[in-house]
Symmetry: C2
Subunit: 214 residues, 2 copies
DNA sequence: AGGCAGCGTAGACGGTGTCTACCGGCGGTG
DNA sequence: CACCGCCGGTAGACACCGTCTACGCTGCCT
């Protein structure tokens, strides 16, 4: 009756999510996940024929988590598309920085290559949110919306990765990724209207550390 | 002088480079490299105390290769900074697409974290080339040069990764990364002079475009 | 009651990174 | 010349990994 009592499949994924969040990508071995889930090392095979299948399931959970955070951010953000887009970018960067291991896992090319991530169902909805906002802000001389949105996403993604990995701080000497986020948005969508002085997102304790997937 | 006759250390790195280029990241195991170099599995330890050290040396070779390609591109490109920057971006994207395994290795965060990549010596020169061009093209209202260059690099990097990984083609429906590259450069540096011919947006008429000369 | 299918256990196999003992030349020194 | 130590590579052991296979247990259905 407890959440722990649900099927082994869900328990394995939950253990994997917990592991990758806490220990990073290298810790997510099949046997360690099985150990944490309290089963023998052969048990996962019943549900995930291969290690990659289990990793893909974990990564999908990561996409779901990120999507949920973005949607929550979208609820709290106002109605101004530009402010909403800024909030979206902030959420993306924060997610990558706070959950490096998961972020890395989500974009492992060997996982993406197998198609088991089902990107159409996981990351496309997220991209649709961004595309929608971009469409509202697009100026006539800009590139077509899909290209503009794609380029902006790539910019966000690149900042997230290069910053979290430490390359951008080293190269630019910056100490805050906010400058880069602002620069990216200004570049792709034109300078922000001056009126909104978005305060630094006041962060309470990170609510993510209590992961209890339903 | 002969490459094959030099020390084992260089042979190991060469074998690793060859392996990661040909078979991808997962093939670059210590033992396989030793096998290809014709030595026992314990031999590498003499020069690389740890697997990560050897991988870092291989990745450094990748940075050197990329840098060399960029410099060659810079020699062949004309004197127009914008054209040179476009060529740089093209080289970056082509490198990532052609050498996915190496590109992935070069930006593995567990390698970057150890500091053994010596980014200061490997990737900073590359970034300096970009920064230099950006400085020439920067408009007064743009972000400071380091931030602008960093944001542009991140954009390039994101396009390279998300495109080569297949996410961007899926999300945008595009079949050519050139559109994204152009969009990124236009966004960060303003529209390219006189060569800006964007195909009209598919949806809806755009009255302001009716006056443009053919 | 008997059979059976679903689930998890347990062991084996080959592969991996790391550690350690060993060993064959080689040069320097008595 | 004999010796010794060091350098560079070998080879085996260890623990861990992913995968495969044979084996039990348990509970449901006929």
């Amino acid at each position: 009756m407890d959440a722990d009592e649900t099927g082994l499949r869900a328990r394995l994924v939950a253990a994997g999510v917990d592991l990758v969040l806490r220990e990073g990508q290298s810790a997510v071995s099949l046997r360690e996940i099985a150990r944490r889930a309290g089963v023998s090392h052969g048990a996962p095979r019943r549900y995930f024929p291969t290690h990659v299948d289990l990793l893909s399931a974990i990564a999908r959970e990561g996409f779901a988590d990120l999507t949920a955070r973005v949607e929550e951010t979208m609820r709290d953000a106002g109605s101004d598309p530009r402010a909403r887009l800024t909030a979206l970018g902030r959420t993306y960067l924060d997610f990558a920085a706070a959950h490096r291991g998961m972020f890395e896992l989500m974009f492992r090319h060997d996982l993406l290559a197998t198609g088991r991530l089902r990107l159409r169902e996981t990351s496309l909805p997220l991209f649709a949110v961004l595309t929608d906002l971009v469409a509202q802000l697009r100026r006539p001389t800009d590139a077509p919306t899909p290209v503009l949105a794609g380029a902006l996403w790539a910019n966000l993604h690149g900042i997230a990765q290069l910053w979290a990995w430490g390359s951008l701080p080293l190269a630019t000497g910056a100490t805050d990724d906010g400058d880069l986020l602002r620069a990216a948005l200004d570049a792709h969508l034109g300078p922000a209207p001056e009126r909104t002085v978005h305060p630094p997102q006041t962060e309470g304790p990170c609510p993510c550390c209590t992961t209890s997937p339903s």
